[in-house]
């Protein structure tokens, strides 16, 4: 069969063009990730001034039970700001982690984003200039994020080379969840008040059957894929992961002793299974198979429906005084945005007393402000005042460490996993300390 080239060649070219067009929707024209709406490029930068409506796109990872509280906040903002409309798209954290860098690198992406639930995730974006410094968004007065009211732990966590790169999307502290029924059964009166007492409680509340299977764990300690728990135990005894000089504190005697003491309880007394994820630790507490767990306010949304009779208490004090972990989801501004002014206004409103009050009531999280202790509505909430009270003593894990992911995934987490599997804390942490110092350039 012979085909006339006058037909064959245009036909082939037409097919190629069609194929290319068909594949185009995989990424939007400005490089935004699939499913994301991107800032309209043709819109002039001065729309805020001219009274025209500005649309801000916001990619967030609030997929949990508190999702409705965040969506409610966006609705409230849009209703009260007719000139600025925020379109929030919620995606799982993994998806954001994969798509956001590519979208930003190709000149697109949402105006505002929460790159990860981990504070340290923003440093890679800051280093590359993918997100804007937000020092100008902070200050005092209308239209600014009230710097003096934001928890110090959040400000420290968002500072990269002396500049602030994020605004807290939320703020939480960890408290000691304890199963009241299990404590009563064991004849324990109220939650532990010191680290020594916490250790005693953990041992007393651990039970085994005849075959040696643990039927109830005293204190569940997750070591990976979790909100960090082990750092609290280290800080409470005066140890550190990264010290004030920005170098490793893993090799300090206090850190080694704290980790060895708790690891011994895990190995010898079975107070916790080894190698738990945060989800597995939560499952044990929710199933009534764990008596105590350090966790954040989000867990109330799991344990209350599970029918557990529980309460929360401050983390017991060790030799270093009261301390707990703070966690705050960073909200950043894309360097590609055409509406920084509108974003600043959104940030200021989001961190206002009005918005934080609504978010706290809807989610059970403490407000991302330290000046709302006298808020009557919040004071009556079952959980908010308790988590808010711990804010003053709360620290962020690996705050300000630019190599956050490597320090966590390759050094700290494997070190804890090796020690809870029987290796010596002194040997492992001395080696880990050298690796961390090398990573930090110390």
């Amino acid at each position: 069969m012979k085909i006339n080239p006058r037909i064959a060649i245009p036909l082939g070219m037409a097919f190629l063009v069609a194929a290319c067009q068909a594949s185009a929707p995989a990424a939007t024209s400005d490089g935004a990730a699939p499913g994301e709406s991107s800032a309209p490029e043709s819109e002039p930068a001065s729309t805020e001034d001219s009274g025209e409506q500005v649309t801000l796109t916001f990619l967030a990872g609030f997929t949990g039970g508190d999702r409705a509280a965040y969506e409610g906040l966006i609705e409230e903002f849009n209703a009260s700001h007719p000139n600025i409309q925020v379109e929030m798209e919620i995606q799982p954290w993994d998806v954001i982690g994969q798509e956001l860098p590519a979208a930003m690198a190709t000149g697109g992406g949402p105006d505002i984003a929460t790159p990860s639930f981990a504070e340290g995730s923003i440093f890679a974006y800051a280093e590359s200039g993918s997100i804007l410094p937000l020092d100008d968004a902070y200050g005092s007065g209308e239209g600014l994020v009230e710097r003096g009211a934001i928890p110090e732990a959040a400000l420290n966590a968002f500072t990269y080379q002396d500049q602030l790169y994020a605004v807290p999307a939320n703020f939480a502290t960890l408290l000691l969840y304890h199963n009241l029924d299990l404590l009563e059964e064991a004849g324990l009166d109220g939650p532990p008040e010191s680290m020594d007492e916490l250790r005693d409680y953990a041992v007393q509340l651990t039970e085994s059957d005849d075959a040696g299977n643990v039927t109830q764990h005293g204190l569940v300690l997750a070591d990976h894929a979790t909100i960090p728990m082990w750092p609290i135990l280290i800080w409470a005894e005066g140890g550190s992961i990264v010290n004030e000089d920005g170098c490793s504190g893993l090799g300090s005697p206090e850190t080694i002793e704290a980790v060895q003491t708790w690891a011994d309880l895990v190995i010898n007394e079975n107070i916790s299974p080894v190698g738990l994820t945060g989800g597995e630790a939560d499952n044990l507490f929710a199933a009534g198979q764990a008596a105590m767990e350090m966790n954040g306010p989000w867990a109330t949304g799991v344990y209350t429906p599970a029918g557990i009779n529980y309460d929360v208490a401050p983390i017991p004090e060790g030799v270093a005084g009261p301390v707990t972990l703070a966690t705050t989801v960073p909200m950043v501004l894309n360097a590609n945005t055409e509406h920084p002014d509108a974003a600043y206004e959104f940030f200021a409103w989001w961190t206002s007393q009005e918005a934080q009050g609504a978010l706290s009531l809807g989610s059970g999280f403490p407000p991302a402000r330290t000046d709302m202790a006298d808020n009557a509505e919040l004071a009556e909430h079952d959980w908010v005042p308790k988590f808010a009270a711990a804010a003053a003593d709360a620290r962020v894990y690996l705050a300000g460490v630019e190599q956050f992911t490597e320090a966590d995934t390759e050094i700290f987490v494997p070190a804890i996993q090796r020690i809870t599997r029987g290796e010596s804390a002194e040997d492992v942490l001395t080696q880990a300390s050298e690796e961390l110092d090398a990573l930090l350039g110390c």
């Binding site: 860098p101 690198a105 040696g212 299977n213 299974p273 080894v274 390759e410 494997p414």
Partner: protein, 290 residues
């Protein structure tokens, strides 16, 4: 007079597939090779050419060699067991049994189910505290085992799940191959006094040679690329005991955004698969005396 330009019609028929292959396979491979020669970060505008720098770094990277070891162990554990079991099941299901269709469907079911969801189900089954298997062990008065949390047991547990998932695929292919072996050969062998083992050794296996080649090559490639069930069940842990080349590649690319380094790992994996597949094809061809 101009000479007519002749286009063989075969090329037109090839055009759609060739275009898709070029755009979605050849071009990305070439891009990955090019990226692997750069210090290429997702987030940075500066992506300097560093030649073989990433490959040199890989040579001294303990986690890369650990990932190579884990990937090799997974492949050596999963492929022979999976194909051996698949062959046994295919032979059994090649007989005239009651409820044959039901058995075939049951063995094939894992293939059509979502691996991510099945991995979550298996994680729950194997959970030492709330899992069904732990419950049975407790009922029997045994000490519960944390399969996925134990450094020595995690990889075997992942291998078992991989075999469970892929057994049906190999079985169906082998079953089709078995049905292509002429019945007369078995009858003739029986008349000549051949036993079951001799019939299997001298008729079934030679008759399945090409089918086995296909199943082995496909299974080895899939095993070298194992990712889903590990990502869901252990994320490469505990202590990197299930960290394969692809999970490590994912970590470098999507947690550290080091696309250049991740591409170098991908290139090594590509070459590894190419070499192993070529070796298998050569081996089977060498033994092909037909």
């Amino acid at each position: 007079m101009t000479r007519a330009f002749k286009v063989h019609p075969a090329y037109l028929f090839l055009l759609p597939s060739a275009t898709a292959l070029l755009v979605f396979t050849v071009w990305p491979i070439a891009q990955a090779l090019w990226i692997s020669l750069h210090d290429w970060s997702f987030l940075s505008d500066a992506r300097p050419f560093i030649g073989l720098g990433n490959y040199v770094e890989l040579l001294g990277d303990d986690r890369f060699w650990n990932a190579m070891r884990v990937t090799a162990l997974y492949t050596m554990g999963a492929v022979p067991l999976q194909i051996g079991l698949a062959l046994a099941v295919a032979l059994a299901l090649n007989e005239r049994l009651h409820g044959l269709a039901l058995f075939r469907a049951a063995f094939f079911f894992p293939v059509i189910s979502s691996l991510a969801i099945m991995a979550i189900v298996w994680s729950f089954l194997l959970d030492p505290n709330v899992g069904v298997i732990a419950g049975w062990m407790t009922d029997l008065g045994m000490r519960r085992i944390d399969f996925l949390g134990d450094v020595t047991l995690a990889l075997p547990a992942i291998i078992v799940v991989g075999i469970w998932k892929n057994l049906g695929f190999s079985m169906v292919i082998l079953l089709a191959g078995l049905q292509g072996v002429p019945r007369e050969h078995y009858e003739a062998a029986s008349i000549d006094g051949a036993g079951r083992w001799q019939r299997f050794r001298h008729i079934t296996i030679p008759g399945l040679r090409h089918t086995l080649l296909f199943v082995v090559v496909i299974s080895v490639i899939a095993s070298l690329q194992v990712f889903d069930q590990i990502f869901v069940m252990t994320r490469g842990g505990p202590l990197f005991a299930t960290d394969t080349l692809v999970t490590y590649l994912y970590y470098q690319g999507f947690s550290l955004f080091r696309m250049g380094y991740a591409s170098a790992i991908a290139t090594i994996l590509f070459l590894l698969i190419l070499a192993v597949s070529a070796g298998q094809l050569r081996l089977f061809r060498y033994r092909d005396v037909d």
